[in-house]
Amino acid sequence: MPIPRKPERSVVTTCAYCGVGCGFRAETIGGRVVRMVPWKEGKANHGHGCVKGRFAFDYYDHPDRVKVPMIRGSIEEPWREVGWDEAIAHAATELKRIQGTYGRGSVGAVSSSRCTNEEIFLMQKFARVGLRNNNIDNCSRICHSPTQFGLQATLGAGAASQHFDSILQADVILVVGANPTEGHPVFGSMLKRRVREGAKLLVIDPRRTETVESAHCLADVHLALRPGTNVLVLDSLAHVIVTERLHDESFIRERCHWNEFEQWAALVGHARYSPDVVGPEAGLDPEHIRRAARLYAAGPRSTIYYGLGVTEHSQGSTGVMCLGNLALACGHLGREGVGVNPLRGQGNVQGGSCLGSWPHMLTGYRFVTDDAVRGSFERDWGIELDPEPGLRLPNMFDAALAGTFKAMYIQGEDPVQSDPNQNHVVAAMRSMECVILQDLFLTETAKFAHVFLPGSSALEKNGTFTNAERRVSMVRKVCEPLAGLEDWQITVRLMNAMGYPVHYDHPSQILDEIARLSPAYEGMSFELIERNGSVQWPCNRKDAPDGTEVLHTRSFPRGRANFMLTAYVPTQERTSDRYPLLLTTGRILSQYNVGTQTRRTGNLAWYAEDVLDIHEADARQRGIVDGDWVSIASRYGSTRLRARISERVSQGTVYTTFHFAQSKANAITSDLSDWATNCPEYKVTAVEVVRMQARQAADRAVAAEVSA
């Protein structure tokens, strides 16, 4: 057939992969999606796409999709297919039974950043009105919770200060712990475009990523620091800025508190953070630290983009505060081309954060302990809410092991593969009496579930996503849900079965409810988003009827911004004779997170397994050659991977991805976490790597581990 088939119908929607949130035209023939064409009017992508959003959509009707609800008495039993009514009734009965036996706090819920704003909002509502507690958390716990905490503390708003296009007006771009050309490819292309136009690029990352060096894009300074020394190095940049008096005094006096600046300047100005002291400790040339600091301060328009390389540390929140402090000190906020911007991982993880899917906060980051805030929800929902904050996700697992937490409703998350210290998570899962999992596929977590509710992909539902630039865009139904229900409909049924009657005809009514109950979304509606294409929060009828592109232009949410003290405290995770290497983890272009979607697409052509990147010198010492199977052991567990000799990692550092379940990358990561938010320290684990003698040895090791 030489002439391609012409698509019959097209629906503009938002990509379900990363936090860039590209607009696509989903084109169909006979109701089946045949092509995703980047939407030229998408304000996040302007007609561009990447290998995931553009091509990797086949997972949606993959044969592995579960289309019928299933239940079982125990995780040893085979699944039994049932109708929706029976599955929902069974789940509700179990939740009620467990609450009757073990107490109201013995159950909880986890929302998904791949679901819509409306679905996330309903999940936290489910916990609060259905379970009658605050045991609700979301996956930003394990990625950007420090962003929200750290930016809230400094700037007063825990989200990106800019819109993506703002980078096209930046003179200096500082990228910290992020690799946008692989993790956020369409934004990465925009960044490279600006670098080709002459902007200076500064990168702080232990790896020599593609962002550091690729065709016609070369970082002016690359600080390849030792994993775990972010705060130290950022404080050292600040040291250069305050000791060389490169800060913007008039901005600080006008927009911040001068006495706070002085306290902060005294801390970072201490000789402890001098580049001459920090350099050797972090594995850097002190001159490079100075050069980066001077370039950033000089601007005139300098912007910061950062990723999980900042947040996923025991000092993750402190690292984020360091970035806020830097921008404040140099006055790089409140204009085009400047700012502090988290690159968020999942398509709707910003929504996950905004919409109250937290054990201690309701929508808009407002505390559940605040009587006035809680009261507004109680009036709207007609039910009394628990004033006590609930359990965070890791605490739910701890409580499960302690025998006080017995059931969990998980929507579109795979904690067994994605959360740190896998052995601990598995043990917690095994100790629960009812795990209700709502997903597209039988994931790793499904092995420990008792009820499986087949969910719908983003192509099968209506709703909205909020991307990393606070942009709320429309998700439109391209085809009917394969299992019959959109995810929000499942949650509504479960809520009803728990004894809380509620009904929505359409997700637009849920967004209306969100708008009613959240200041930042106050002016949002499906109608407004339809009319404008997309809308960035804060959006309210009085001051920002069409949303807000750049934050902090005239004042900060608290009036003035705050400098936070950011003393460096090294992680407890240390290398030793036994574990001499530092493992850091991340993602690559063609695969996405735990791979539930991308592993079921043609993207396997580029990356069919996780590999361990190791420096040639470290490999040689251990007799490892390219392609060898190696075992990687940490204080927490072990796994095996194929080794790849790589120039991207420095000596002493090894790197792998976590896209494939069988590689068990999170069997080795620690249970250390951010001091403020419990965000796990995925980015630093002390390990040893040993060459495996033969394939059989590898198989034996795995067998032993599985039976253990």
Binding site: M1, R5, K40, H46, R54
Partner: protein
């Protein structure tokens, strides 16, 4: 810069990127139209709903001026300038249709079609096919000369294929890889008639530096680069047995 990107429209291809300069008024076939300074005559014509046929031009890429089907007449100027590379000027009077322009465009189209699979001309829906419609040129008077019709198809990428038989070497894919994606994986290898699109060092797409973003596929006006998902039972050339 970004305000220009935001001026892109899904249903319209202005041919060259929107600009945000001061307003300039000119006439296209007698119709007055006002566009920002720095815009091309091609963009102004699209705004005036007098779109000029084009192959190497698209509004996500800077003008290139290679395909020669977008020629126009401009009052007071000699020759037939390419509308994509000619910036607008105040008071300019542009003619997009005339017998002479039609003859020139037909001549160019006949040359393109002389090295394009004849069986793929009817029934297609690519931009080339739109230009075939617009110019009314669906065949060529030439015999079978040197051609690229037997060049092997590259099907290495899981999602799209490259059939050089349909390639008109307009460089849109190469420029999309550079300007939009920023990977610089594609190039035009060779000179003159021997010039062809190549990935990295003449490698299959999958083995090259290509990151499969799809910008080249979207940019291709002839569906020489095209999604595999649009073919049932795999790709077969029309003239293959």
């Amino acid at each position: 810069m970004w305000s220009e990107l935001r001026a892109l429209r899904d249903e319209i291809d202005y041919g060259t990127p929107p600009r945000d300069g001061a307003p300039v008024t000119l006439t296209i076939d007698g119709v007055a139209v006002t566009v920002p300074a720095g815009s091309s005559v091609m963009l102004a014509a699209a705004e005036a709903r007098r779109a000029v046929p084009k192959l190497c031009a698209t509004d996500m890429l800077e003008a290139f001026g290679s395909c020669r089907v977008c020629l126009v007449e401009i009052e007071g100027r000699r020759g037939y300038p390419a509308s994509c590379t000619t910036p607008v000027e105040p008071g300019m009077a542009v003619r997009t249709r005339s017998d002479r322009l039609q003859a020139l465009r037909a001549g160019v189209m006949e040359l393109y079609l002389s090295d394009f699979p004849a069986a793929d001309i009817p029934g297609g829906w690519s931009e080339l096919h739109e230009v075939i419609q617009a110019t009314g040129v669906a065949q060529h008077p030439y015999g079978r000369g040197e051609n690229h019709l037997d060049a092997p198809v590259d099907e290495s990428n899981p999602y799209f294929l490259f059939d050089p038989a349909k390639c008109i070497v307009c460089s849109r894919c190469v420029r999309a890889c550079e300007e939009v994606q920023g990977t610089f994986a594609l190039t035009i290898e060779g000179r003159g008639f021997a010039s062809k699109v190549a990935a990295s060092q003449g490698q299959p797409f999958l083995d090259s530096e290509c990151v499969s973003c799809g910008a080249c596929v979207q940019a291709c006006p002839t569906q020489s680069l095209v999604e595999k998902s649009l073919f049932v039972g795999g790709y077969r050339r029309a003239d293959s047995p």
